[in-house]
């Protein structure tokens, strides 16, 4: 039987009486509004700590160890998000996590923020502007779920503990008992799937995840379980379809986006990568990691098209990657390298000019310059630049391959031998390769 509203507020008041609360929000108005709600609900005034920055919040979690944290999602874009504080709280109080509450109260109403919060399993997500009643109801509901969980959740929790302890028979028994207690028991089915997977009964595991998704098509854990199972069996096409579904409901997780792009490339869905790029261009707030993954995927696609002879399509993708990753030397480096490999020295030179000035004295830059010269310049120029690099002890395997070949062309027998021995000394595992190139037996 559920508790009456009066009893619920009494339970919450009792819970608050011995709990420390942290309110972390850059807005003083929000902090005071939330503080008032906690006071009205029964928090002793000296048990509520108010801070305005990520750094202060992190310190407070470390030193004071609050039981309840309520934070702005975008507390500080440079230092960390509200969700980073959740990770901090779990690290500081791993045993008390079941009793702790973590709540986001934010102006950020975007689906990407909500999904990130859902993935991290926050206890509640309150949007601003808030009403006192919404905050109160949300907090009470979240606290009661922790203090008086229904039988279904208790059994799932016990089953999960048995699974972690590798007591698989007990885990399955408890989780099967939980299934009929909830009209949509996706969580229980997920943990049964996990248990089957741990026992390497993968077909049944897949069946359980799918059954969980029949009840609830956006059940995050079931989707991820299914994706990981397919990934472990290298069923890339099916895994790609699942991870696309996950990304549809849970956007903006950089780790998963990288998976989507990786699988798009493995399964050769290059058109999809170009579509992702078009959508990416419409996003105002571009996360640094997101930019990195998108650029990398564009370069990989470009390389693929170069390999198939679709040069103009490849060049378009390289242009997009270079424009998106302005100032990122590693992206330019990848493009130049691809163009060198495709024997396109003029295009490689054009991209070489895009390197940021501070990179133009680097070892990588000079080696790329050497490789381009090798494609376009006379042998004498290649050998001259190569010798200058040798003096600076700048080299790579490819450098020695080129220098040995070019020296042979110029009949510089002593130089060929010296280069082969030097290469073998610097790259001992490739000794046989260099000796064969130099025709030294």
């Amino acid at each position: 039987m559920s508790a009456t509203p009066e009893k619920e507020s009494d339970i919450f008041k009792k819970y608050l009486a011995t709990r420390k609360v942290l309110i972390a929000d850059p807005s003083a108005t929000s902090r005071s509004g939330l503080f008032r709600v906690f006071q009205d609900c029964g928090s002793p005034p000296n048990s509520v700590i108010l801070v305005n920055s990520y750094g202060q919040a992190k310190e407070t979690i470390k030193n004071i160890k609050p039981h309840i944290v309520i934070t702005e999602f975008d507390i500080d874009r440079r230092s960390g998000s509200g969700l980073d504080l959740l990770i901090e709280q779990r690290q500081q109080q791993p045993k008390e996590t079941k009793e702790c509450l973590f709540v986001i109260a934010t102006n950020n109403t975007s689906q990407s923020a909500v999904a990130r919060a859902a993935e991290e399993d926050v206890d509640a997500f309150i949007i601003k502007p808030f009403t006192v009643e919404t905050v109160r109801k949300t907090l009470v509901k979240a606290a009661l779920l922790k203090l008086k969980p229904p039988e279904y959740l208790l059994l799932v929790e016990k089953g999960k503990e048995a699974l972690i302890a590798q007591n698989y028979d007990e885990a399955e028994k408890l989780l099967e008992q939980a299934v009929p207690l909830d009209p949509a028991p996706s969580l229980a089915l997920y943990y049964i799937g996990m248990t089957k997977f741990a026992r390497q009964i993968t077909e049944e595991a897949e069946g359980k995840y799918n059954k969980g998704l029949d009840f609830n098509k956006i059940h995050y854990k079931c989707l991820v379980g299914l994706y990981e199972l397919m990934g472990s069996q290298k069923r890339h096409h099916e895994a790609y379809e699942v991870v696309k579904r996950v990304s549809q409901y849970f956007p903006a997780n950089p780790k998963r986006l990288s998976e989507v792009l990786r699988l798009a490339i493995i399964t050769q869905q290059y058109d999809d990568v170009e579509k992702y790029y078009q959508a990416f261009c419409n996003i105002d707030e571009r996360d640094d990691t997101l930019v990195k993954y998108v650029c990398a995927a564009l370069v990989v696609c470009g390389k693929y098209y170069l390999g198939t002879g679709a040069r103009s399509r490849a060049m378009t993708l390289f242009q997009k990657a270079s424009a998106t990753g302005t100032g990122r030397a590693n992206i330019i480096k990848e493009i130049v390298q691809a163009l060198v490999e495709a024997n396109l020295p003029k295009d490689a030179r054009d991209y070489q000019k895009k390197f940021p000035p501070e990179f133009q004295t680097s070892k990588d830059y000079q080696l790329l310059n050497f490789e381009i010269t090798n494609l376009e310049g006379p042998v004498s120029a290649v050998i001259q630049i190569g010798r200058e690099l040798q003096k600076q002890n700048i080299h790579s395997e490819r450098f020695y391959e080129i220098m040995i070949g070019r020296s042979q062309e110029s009949s510089l027998k002593d130089a060929v031998e010296a280069l082969a021995y030097e290469a073998a000394k610097n790259y001992p595992d490739k000794k046989d390769h260099f000796m064969a190139l130099a025709k030294i037996s």
Partner: protein, 134 residues
């Protein structure tokens, strides 16, 4: 089958945006929409804002216009206009102040629209979180 365009939907990265302007009818000064202007709390015919510092004082009469822009909209549209009295005015920093406005006159339909836009998004979010947990 899921379309790639659905997977990476730019609308998912956008919030409901409010553009808030305020005219201080007592001093005949105006606060145009800007990043400081924020609606923090909605109460019973009471709104708590953050506005640029020194824009009003207790007992001043104000006219507030709130415009909304949803994630799938490119232009803002009028959400709610009201006149009210400043109940509380507190300078928070050199640039910001907290202002509590007691709503004196407002069109009931637009007031309800203001309440509903956030109530319905809050309900959607809570439903999503529950579904995800299962």
């Amino acid at each position: 089958m899921v379309n790639a365009e659905d997977v990476f939907n730019p609308k998912d990265f956008k919030s409901i945006e409010l553009e808030i302007s305020m005219k201080n009818l007592t001093t005949q000064t105006e606060v145009r929409p800007g990043p400081i202007n924020t609606l923090v709390e909605i109460g019973d015919k009471m709104l708590t804002f953050e506005f640029p510092a020194k824009c009003c004082n207790i007992k001043h009469s104000v006219f507030v216009e709130i415009r909304k822009r949803l994630p799938d909209e490119t232009k803002s549209s009028e959400l709610c206009s009201l006149t009210g009295k400043v109940l509380e005015a507190e300078n928070l920093t050199d640039s910001e102040m907290r202002v509590v406005v007691n709503v004196v006159q407002v069109d009931e339909l637009s007031w309800n629209a203001l309440l509903n836009i956030f109530d319905s998004r809050q309900a959607q979010i809570s439903e999503f979180l529950n579904a995800v947990r299962g």
